[in-house]
């Protein structure tokens, strides 16, 4: 008996998608709609826009999930190379916005090539390790290291410490799963801690200020510390149960800066309290757990490395964002996955999740 055409379409759509991931991501997304509605002062404008770009992002995700990873993998070198060239282009011809040279004018639109590198670097490295899987030696790790450091340095020079850290971390995760020596990891960590004073000296004033503000926000309560103090007040005053949806005073009286984007977690936290926070963290952990399961079951090296890197990157976004809003990490422009308002950020998350689902399908 032939099934109903709609049922066939539904099966076709559902077929490449991972049920668990869709459930967990869906729950986070539903929460995010409520938070955005509150953060945007009960205006439907951003909510509608968010819905629009999510549909677009889901289409891209579906496409990536549908495609075989081996096929996607082959795009790694060209994407990486284009991204790298664009970064060089930024360094040479980029537009300066707010003191940072991050954007490239392409006639009709501006692009921020560092966003491309967020996905291009782990892809490139996973492709690279897969290609030399059988003959891996220390030289390959060195080359891989260079493939991370070169774009990383270019982004750092823009300067954009946040993105540089994120793309280099993504690359590092691939190397980590590819079996980078523990000695090197630990040695590198020690070397990093030892070089902190040097890093401090080459840091820009605004970056130093962010770190100092983290240590003591009250040093400059109306200046650099203002964002952190206000978001901490929002979180703390939310208490165990929260003030209730749409009832956050910090939110609705404009005290929380960037409250639909980077600081949206403060809005959520004020209105839903500790209970809400624990629920959100558990949902993120569930996404990550599912990601790790996919990683463990991936049949190819590329699949394992890519899935591991995507999952860890997802974690880093969630952790860094919540850490910065609650005042244990410096303020870097990292959005809260799926919750923060912004098309690009959502797209890059959904691209990653699409690839992850593609890898999950591979073993079938």
């Amino acid at each position: 008996m032939q099934p109903h055409p709609l049922k066939r379409l539904w099966d076709f759509i559902k077929e490449p998608l991972d049920g668990w991931l869709m459930l967990f991501l869906g729950l986070i997304y539903v929460l995010s709609l409520f938070v955005l509605f509150s953060a945007d002062n009960q205006d439907w404008g951003r909510l509608t826009a968010k819905f629009g770009y999510t549909v677009l992002g889901l289409a891209v995700m579906w496409g990536l999930a549908y495609m075989r990873p081996q096929l996607v993998m082959n795009f790694a070198p060209p994407i990486y190379l284009v991204g790298l060239l664009l970064l060089v282009g930024v360094a040479l011809f980029g537009i300066v916005v707010n003191g940072s040279r991050r954007w490239l004018e392409l006639g009709i639109t501006r692009i921020q090539p560092s966003e491309i590198m967020k996905i291009a670097i782990p892809m490139m490295l996973a492709w690279f390790f897969q290609k030399y899987e059988l003959s891996l030696n220390w030289r390959h790790y060195l080359v891989a290291g260079l493939m991370i450091v070169v774009p990383g340095a270019l982004v750092l020079k823009q300067p954009d410490l946040g993105t540089a850290t994120l793309i280099m971390a993504a690359g590092f995760f691939v190397m980590f799963f590819a079996g980078l020596s523990w000695k090197l990891i630990i040695g590198g960590l020690i070397a990093f801690l030892g070089s902190l004073p040097i890093i401090w000296n080459v840091m820009h004033d605004y970056q130093k200020k962010r770190v100092l503000t983290l240590i003591d926000p009250m040093q400059d309560p109306l200046g650099a510390g203002y964002h952190i103090i206000q978001s901490m007040i929002a979180i703390g005053s939310g208490g165990p149960w929260g003030k209730g949806w749409l009832n956050g005073t910090q939110t609705h009286l404009d005290y929380i800066p960037e409250r639909t984007t980077d600081f949206i977690f403060a809005v959520y936290s004020e209105e839903f309290g500790l209970v809400g926070n624990v629920i959100l963290v558990i949902l993120y952990l569930l996404v990550i757990s599912r990601g790790m399961m996919i990683t463990a079951r991936a049949p190819t090296l590329y699949g394992r490395l890519m899935a591991g890197a995507i999952t860890l990157t997802f974690f880093v976004y969630a952790f860094v964002n919540m850490g910065m809003v609650s005042g244990i990490l410096p303020v870097v422009g990292v959005p809260l996955p799926l919750v923060s308002y912004g098309g690009t950020a959502t797209l890059s998350i959904l691209v990653g999740q699409g690839m992850l689902m593609g890898i999950a399908n591979q073993r079938k």
Binding site: G239, L253, R304, M322
Partner: protein
């Protein structure tokens, strides 16, 4: 297999990968636990702290200002009032750029150079986040124009503010004083007195005069609104409000009609006048000429006007009635007479010589009489009537300073009267101790009291120096047989909230233990001054009530021995001051007055007519014909001046929103 450098682990790939996954997963779980711990810390352990901070963020206390109390005269005529006007205020920290904002605003409202200067001055005195007045008293049209464009100007507001207004301007300047913007000094004083909370949001404070002395009554109590504010500081809604309590109304003993009449009688001449009700100590008129317009100070005086007032040779800013010390001249003689009688230095009918001049034993120095032929001989009363100098030279010489000083001191000369105004001058009632102290830094010859010092003191010259207020109060004391009152301008304080009147009870400071007959004798003598044969006989012509008085002429420059005083020959500012003290009626005095007209010559010529005209009005409601048209407070020709005053008071009351301040008719 030992190899020196290995970037890849050698264990089997699968084991190795499993281990790394566990490590990575463990790390992530651990990090999430750290995050949850942080949330527990913020949301459970520190919840109260952050809740308080959030409340503080959200709720701000906005002071609501009380209306400053009114000041009305004894008949309820409003002397100081408030009116509402639009003010353009700018909060520098909230504007995108102060200069650009001000430039843009200049296209909507007319900003004069004076406005700009004042704005710069205010800016320098205030903090960045406080609103500063850019232009006061906007026209309706300007206010509407700014309001319509408000969205273009963050940090710019049009506010309805109350302004202080002194409708009688110069006439009341030295009584009421004025209010002005609170400066750093005022702020420090408020902090010291613990009053800063009540002055949050208050811009003005009484600077001088009654406005300063009765500041606490006039200011009232600020109310507060608990307002929910957003991060931009805009009020979203009011949660709770405590209404302000308006300032109390001051009701003066002063009669503005009398004050205006006195002012008109002075005309352009300089001087001071104080009229006191001898039965209560209430001040009926208190004038210092020239005055100034106190309204200039309310919005912050501009430097040109300030310089003008300060550089004026007539010194309009000096309160002559309160702070001007002058030798009393012959108006001192009744006081001398009291001293002589009280110390038994002379009997009522002792007749003594009153020649053309007096010389000390063994000296050729001539103390001359103002009457160059002398007055033959006289008893004490006659000596007062004709104002014999030589009689009083001799009397003073015979008594010596030690007998004079104690009695006059009890009459209040040389000490502050305690009137309810700040900055009263003490004056000088000479004594040996005083001279010693005054010239402490000089050689002993200068410090020492010479017996001859007392001679000129006997006629009110020498070291003598008193304020018009002291003289008025002294005459009032003689007039009411030795009851010394503390003169007071404010008669009642009307509570703005309850409408209850708190009377400033006329409390005699002391009753002088002098003989009643002595008072009677001196008063009769003063009455004779206005009778035929007296120095002010011309002033007493046609009196319809009894009146006592004494003329006086205070020397400004010493006249050389043998020279003749010629008033027309010397510069105006070196001419003698014209004094007159008086009271009426003699039997039951209702008014006592001291008048000094600077550089106006003989007492009977300038000062005495002022006192007579004032008394005629006070006793009979009669207005001098030549001034009839000029007096705004007195309805011309009206025999019942109270009717006019009532009408005025009612009109003024109707204009006021503060019903509490309505004067009782």
């Amino acid at each position: 297999m030992p190899r020196p450098t290995r970037l890849k682990n050698t264990r089997s790939d699968d084991d190795q990968f499993q281990l790394r996954m566990v490590v990575a997963y463990g790390f992530m779980v651990l990090m999430f636990i750290v995050l949850i711990s942080r949330f527990v810390y913020l949301q459970v352990l520190q919840h109260d702290h952050y809740m308080t901070l959030a409340q503080n963020n959200r709720i701000s206390l906005v002071p609501t200002l009380p209306n400053r109390g009114l000041i009305v005269d004894r008949n309820g005529v409003v002397l100081a009032q408030n009116y509402s006007a639009y003010t353009l205020e700018v909060t520098p920290s909230k504007t995108g750029g102060l200069d650009a904002t001000v430039a843009e605003l200049g296209k909507l409202v007319d900003l004069t150079p004076r406005d700009m200067k004042r704005f710069k001055k205010f800016l320098s005195e205030s903090r960045n986040f406080e609103p500063v007045a850019l232009k006061m008293k906007l026209s309706e049209e300007e206010a509407a124009r700014v309001a319509a464009n408000a969205w273009r100007f963050p940090g710019v507001e049009v506010k309805a503010r109350l302004f202080r207004d002194y409708p009688f301007k110069e006439l009341t300047s030295h009584v009421l004083g004025y209010i002005g913007r609170i400066n750093q000094k005022d702020q420090d004083q408020l902090e010291e007195d613990g009053k800063t909370a009540n002055y949050r949001g208050t811009d003005y404070i009484g600077k001088t005069g009654l406005e300063a002395v009765y500041e606490d009554d006039l200011h009232g109590t600020s109310g507060f609104e608990e307002v929910e504010t957003d991060a931009g500081g805009r009020a979203v809604r009011t949660l709770r409000r405590t209404a302000p309590i308006n300032g109390n109304t001051l009701k003066l003993a002063l009669d503005i009609r009398l004050q205006e009449l006195a002012d008109k009688l002075f005309g352009q001449r300089r001087g001071g006048l104080v009229a006191i009700d001898p039965q209560t100590g209430g001040v009926l008129a208190f004038l210092s000429k020239p005055g100034f317009d106190p309204n200039l100070f309310v919005d912050g005086i501009d430097s040109a006007s300030w310089k003008g007032l300060n550089d004026d040779w007539q010194k309009p800013m000096i309160n002559r009635a309160l702070r001007g010390v002058y030798p009393p001249g012959s108006t001192f003689k009744p006081f001398m007479a009291m001293a002589a009688l009280e110390t038994g230095s002379i009997g009522y009918n002792d007749v003594r010589p009153a020649p053309a001049f007096f010389t000390l034993p063994g000296s050729s120095h001539q103390f001359r009489d103002s009457n160059k032929r002398g007055n033959g001989s006289a008893n004490l009363a006659r000596a007062i009537q004709v104002s014999s100098d030589t009689f009083f030279y001799k009397l003073a010489w015979d008594m010596g300073i030690d007998k004079i000083h104690p009695v006059l001191s009890q009459l209040g000369l040389g000490s502050k009267t305690g009137i309810d105004l700040d900055g009263e001058a003490t004056g000088v009632l000479p004594s040996k101790e005083w001279k010693e102290k005054r010239f402490a830094r000089y050689k002993p010859e200068v410090r020492r009291w010479y017996p001859a010092d007392v001679v000129s003191i006997g006629i009110g010259q020498g070291f003598n120096a008193y304020t018009p207020l002291q003289m008025a109060n002294g005459v009032a004391t003689i007039a009411n047989d030795g009851k010394v009152f503390k003169p007071h301008l404010v008669q009642e304080v009307v509570d703005a909230k309850t409408g209850k009147e708190r009377r400033i009870e006329p409390q005699p400071l002391r009753q002088l233990p002098f003989k009643q007959e002595n008072f009677e004798y001196v008063k009769r003598a003063m009455q004779s001054v206005l009778k035929p044969g007296g120095t002010a006989a011309r002033i007493g012509v046609g009196l319809q009530y009894t009146m006592g008085g004494k003329t006086g002429t205070a020397q400004v420059v010493a006249i050389k021995q043998g020279a003749k005083y010629n008033s027309s020959a010397i510069a105006e500012q070196q001419r003698d001051h014209s004094w007159f003290v008086a009271f009426a009626p003699v039997e039951q005095p209702r008014i006592a007055v001291a008048v000094i007209v600077e550089n106006a010559g003989w007492g009977a010529a300038a000062a005495a007519p002022i006192a007579r005209a004032l008394f005629d009005y006070y006793m009979l409601g009669k207005v001098p014909a030549d001034l009839a048209g000029q007096l705004t407070t007195i309805k011309t020709g009206s025999v019942d001046p109270n009717a006019a005053a009532r009408a005025q008071a009612e009109r003024a009351a109707a204009e006021q929103e503060t019903t509490d301040a309505t004067p009782s008719p």
